[in-house]
Subunit: 363 residues, 2 copies
């Protein structure tokens, strides 16, 4: 990103602007605060593809009446440790955290809570949810399906989303271990970035419309597909496909959402699949109280020690040795809390356009 | 395996022999039946690396007093939906299923059950456990750590096990979707097989003792390491490492077992790590009642439909199109239930040797 021109904003400025924009489009104040918190967390952690730069896509979907700004979320089935939730086609940024709150409350009551959600929409970074669990000394999980982008192994067309999976573990003195990963070989944003920079992509990231390997990002974007994590059959590509399957079934089949290729688009203007097999986008959340399993302090101390041992691994040639999952995002957050959030100019322009249309001042 | 000489045995013959052998070495009758059921399930599903061919390794570890044949398993902490179990250093093939039974009972009571296990040993194929859950119309999960074999991304030494992850979903008329995968690029058994056949291995499977890519299986076995799922940084190797981390923390740090490089060896003769950070091997199990989330019949019908849609994916060039997770194992089982289980001659010889030593007839 070094060569891309950016402009840096104070966190609270972006937060305030985003909230006012959502309220302008009919989102209740408290929901707007929650939704923007998810986006700003992504920006703070250096995951710009899921940050305030996505505000426009949510606004466009609300303007097109494809997202309900004032949903009435319902629990449609529950047991002491589980629930199924219907998000009434609300913002995933609102339905996600509210559903997650239910998972955490169940964990407080009976040790763990598991929630499958239907009729929701794009919920931001998956990592947001386990980070919430950490605040309550819980282990948190989050998964979601997403617009079709990925071919199953030996398939030549888009059938699954990049279906991310996140989980986090608290440490005592070290930063937490935070895993947040698409189950495809790379996120779609990397393909877009390569096209933007007119660069080719590595072999093994994507296929063309006939299922052949391509290094041209435009070919993937124009109708090809991403590959699942694992490159090829020899290197375990069936495993990436298995992980995407797991996320798809838990998030969608279990809740009654649109699974596989039938996921609704997460930006306005993309084709909506004709066939519906459920309602909206689906998520799956989990929360487990650590002290339901082991003494909390003992757990955190052992995670510290786990981190120290992994960091002390003999480094591979020409590397500084292994990172700990979550390290890059943690480092980004330290810097951005001090310096503010750099936005690339196309995002700045989009936010300025929203500002003009809503008369909410931006800068 | 076509070129390897095999001898085919009836399932019940192998089952009976295995049970008598374990009883001979002090395992209670019912535990022996359970343990052998795990091994035979692996053979039936075509996963010979975890079948009756491992009997010798369990026997050797019991003879060396490294596994307790008559463990007194204890629940050391629990809530309505969770438990932590101490396996008293028993066979993982016994402690695993007994712990899993506790997870399933909790799911019957409160919707889901989650069990972390310490002080256990090698528990067979991870897929055995979710298959048990299917019998009760539950979604089942299983994970375990294992002897160090895998380098983290940018590491040059073995720090983690192949740490498998399994989950299964029932269908209505179709076979179930069964995911059972190591989080390394391949299982260690594939390296051993390549060495046995004097073949090289593909780039990206393993590194030598200095952390450099190697295609020589003997170099990996002699002190190198396997790589995590994902080949290299560009293709998501950090994600395979993240998955191994998830399995390690849930199975070991959460239960109080030996995590990371401190896992005890799963065959006799391998070096035992000097440092202990917990007790024995660790597992993590989950069971969720499907009807806790959605109508059971609706779920199963949708999984059928999910399977039909994925099977109908346009095939990639020179392929027959995507498989469904669990297809190869399901196909193997159909054949083996009819024809019996083919064992390679080195395994036949080991079983004959056990037969001679125990005077339990084999053939």
């Amino acid at each position: 990103m070094a060569e891309v021109e950016t402009r840096t904003y104070q966190i609270e400025h972006l937060r305030g602007f985003g909230q006012r924009v959502l309220v302008h489009f009919g989102v209740p104040e408290e929901d707007a605060r929650q939704a923007i918190d998810v986006l700003i967390t992504a920006d703070l952690r250096g995951i710009e593809s899921h940050g305030i730069g996505r505000l426009r896509s949510y606004v466009d979907l609300m303007l097109a009446k494809k997202i309900n700004p004032r949903p009435e979320m319902k629990i449609v089935r529950q047991t002491p440790s589980t629930a199924t939730i219907d998000g009434d086609n609300g913002l995933g940024l609102v339905i996600g955290p509210k559903s997650y709150e239910i998972a955490m409350r169940k964990a407080e009551d009976v040790g763990s809570g598991w929630v499958s959600v239907r009729n929701s929409n794009h919920f931001g970074i998956a990592g947001y949810y386990p980070l919430e669990a950490l605040k309550r000394d819980m282990i948190g999980w989050a998964m979601t399906n997403s617009t079709k982008m990925v071919a199953p192994l030996w398939g030549a067309e888009r059938m699954l989303g990049t279906n991310p999976l996140a989980i986090a573990f608290p440490a005592k003195r070290e930063p937490p271990v935070v895993i947040d990963m698409a189950t495809s070989v790379v996120a779609y944003g990397k393909i877009e970035m390569a096209k933007h920079k007119q660069q080719s992509i590595p072999h093994g990231w994507a296929i063309d419309v006939e299922g052949r390997d391509t290094v041209d990002p435009a070919v993937m974007i124009g109708g090809g597909a991403l590959l699942p994590l694992g490159l090829d059959r020899d290197h375990g590509c069936h495993k990436g496909y298995c992980l995407a399957t797991m996320v798809d079934v838990l998030s969608c089949v279990l809740s009654g959402a649109n699974w596989g290729p039938f996921a609704p688009p997460d930006v306005q203007g993309m084709e909506t699949p004709e066939r519906r097999v459920g309602k909206g986008v689906g998520h799956f959340f989990g929360a487990m109280r650590i002290d339901a399993f082991i003494d909390l302090d003992e757990f955190k101390s052992q995670v510290d020690e786990w981190i120290h041992v992994m960091r002390a691994t003999q480094p591979a040639p020409d590397t500084n040795g292994p990172l700990i999952p979550g390290d890059p995002e943690h480092d980004a957050e330290q810097i951005r809390r001090q310096q503010g959030i750099p936005l690339i100019m196309p995002v700045v322009e989009e936010l300025r356009e929203i500002s003009v249309n809503t008369r909410i001042p931006f800068d």
